[in-house]
């Protein structure tokens, strides 16, 4: 938490993450170029670079898009999620190499501006098979550019988390454009249909994982027992580890119910800093600590400890036997509520 914007520096974890990305990029390009020089020695270096970076960017985009649902299905993938922006920016850089080489190779040195050439060289916009597929790649690259330059915490803070998140959901539009870029472009000259198969497989994987994750969330929400329209069943005491939380979604609210020191408290699951998932955090030194950047809140009132000023909503809880119930109507941000105490029965 902070009284003003403060960036999170590159720590050891982020450096390891970035090194792995770098290694994957180098590994992919070396394998691609090396193997090409053996099996297709007449290919030019520019063509190999264009093909290697294009296919690599697509592979990276697939990894980026499956991290979200994988994290919802298994929390261990969260470490990929929390630094996903690094992967996104790296993918944009690889895609940029692909785009720049294409524009230099196919569109520059002619009688019109190279960027204009992307849109004007092939004007069969009314035909599906003759469609100027380069324009789709260009469009996707523009989206990825805005996402990459706004990937820093500075923009998340200043554009507001809601706007920032909405803007970054454009990655799905970019993905659709890239798929069509491949299908209406190089895949049409691919007699082996390998690209069509790979892109199709990738699409099936992304859609399936998203559907499984969404079904899981919906199932949890639908199975939530409701009592008199206000209280929703969170689960049993044993469901929550000490100093940790269980997250439930009810009535449009995302609520984190924490168990600590023989007590229970519920606050909003959404961190005020960057919409981080507080329910995936932990109570450290008596404060709920966001896993993204370490912003902290007191469990009983949802306020950051002084001198910090962030506040989140709190929710009423009740316990019946071992069952925990939460009222999904939020109290105003920072409302003090007495934690619900529970007795541990003698096992």
């Amino acid at each position: 938490m902070s009284v003003s914007y403060q960036s999170v520096l590159w720590n050891r974890q982020k450096k390891i993450y970035d090194w792995i990305i770098f290694l994957v990029v180098v590994f992919y390009v070396v394998i691609y170029m090396g193997l090409t020089s053996i099996v297709n020695p007449e290919a030019t270096a520019e063509t190999s670079i264009i093909r290697a970076t294009g296919s690599l960017a697509l592979v990276m985009l697939h990894i980026i898009l499956v991290i979200g649902p994988l994290s919802r299905l298994n929390k261990k993938f969260l470490m990929l999620l929390y630094n996903r922006r690094h992967l996104g920016v790296s993918m944009f850089l690889v895609a940029t190499v692909h785009g720049v080489f294409n524009i230099l190779q196919f569109h520059s040195g002619g009688d019109i501006n190279p960027i204009a050439s992307v849109f004007l060289s092939n004007t069969h916009y009314g035909s599906l098979v003759r469609f100027p597929f380069q324009t789709l790649g260009f469009f996707a690259l523009v989206i990825l550019f805005f996402m990459a330059v706004s990937s820093h915490d500075f923009w998340l803070k200043n554009l507001s988390p809601r706007f920032w998140k909405g803007m970054h959901m454009m990655v799905y539009v970019a993905y659709a454009a890239v798929v069509m870029h491949v299908m209406l472009g190089v895949a049409q000259s691919d007699k082996s249909n390998t690209l069509i198969l790979l892109v199709g497989l990738g699409m099936v994987m992304i859609i399936t994982l998203h559907l499984i994750a969404a079904t899981k969330s919906r199932k949890e929400e639908n199975s939530r027992q409701q009592e008199d329209g206000e209280f929703f069943l969170v689960g049993s005491l044993e469901d929550i580890k000490d100093d940790r939380a269980k997250v439930i979604h009810a009535k449009g609210e995302s609520i984190a119910v924490f168990k600590y020191e023989g007590k229970l408290s519920a606050i909003s699951n959404v961190c005020k800093h960057q919409n981080g998932p507080l329910g995936e955090g932990k109570i450290i030194d008596g404060c709920i600590t966001c896993p993204w950047h370490g912003y902290q809140y007191l469990p009983n009132n949802g306020c950051s400890p002084p001198p910090f000023t962030e506040k989140v909503s709190t929710y009423s809880l009740k316990i019946e036997g071992k069952k925990i119930w939460v009222n999904a109507t939020p109290h105003p941000e920072g409302t003090e509520l007495d934690p619900v105490k529970y007795q541990i029965e003698n096992e």
């Binding site: 999170v8 590994f27 394998i31 090409t36 093909r51 261990k76 470490m79 569109h107 040195g109």
Partner: protein, 288 residues
Amino acid sequence: MSKGSDHNDDFYIGYMPKAPTSHGGFAKLVALTILVVTAGVSALVVLNQKQSNTASFEYGTLTEVEGVVYKAPVPLIRISDGNGGHQTLLLINFLKHGAGPLLANYQNRVSAPLEKSLLKMRGTLIYHDGVTLLELTEQENALIEFTNYAEAPDPTVEDLGTVALNGEIVDPKCYFGSMKPGDGKAHRSCAVRCISGGIPPVFAIKNEAGDAQYVLLVGEKGQQINKEVLPYVGDQLKITGRLERFDDWLVMNVNAAQDLEVIARREDTDKGVHPHLAENIHLCESIH
């Protein structure tokens, strides 16, 4: 506030320097999986890519040639082949431009008509499938020497009659070596730029055995029709026109508004549908 490293058990916190031990092994497994999958995809894409041909672009190597230049029907230079015969090279400018304007400038420097001058020029050779081009890479400086050559022989021109051919319009600079691939949908835009920039359009015709003939396309009166053919670049066409042999080259005079008929999209031919090719077999035989 405390950074809480002693509370780190299995709590993954992005801002902390070290991930929990339980996450380390999982992270290694994920990283290894990603490496293996990406390597596999890389190999799969390479092993199934379309093979490049043996066309050559001697990038970085300049070659001197000496001969007589023809400005029409397209810029050509006729040089000795060293065996008492001759070879006619198609001249093109640097990047995606035709050599026409350059030859006009050369004409201003040479006192006699270019066709009656012996020109020593330097450029980058591009060659494939029996066809050779010279890129005047140094542009104005590509013309090294010139002398009057009043007794220069006229080009050999032979009328081959009106024919109908099936094939694809390509830009010769890329097709014969500057780029690989120099045809197909991925290259269509580049071919449009080259032809729009003044590089003469070439009609590539093939029979089912893969034998190819290349025909320069000009208008009915020998004028450039580069702009007119742009919408047809990369498609499978049937072109009807008067064919002639101009030295080593076949030249077809066509009315771009009437004589070009799209018979299949390039995408169809890429997938193996190659219509009406049999007609070209006889043509290839008769031309040889």
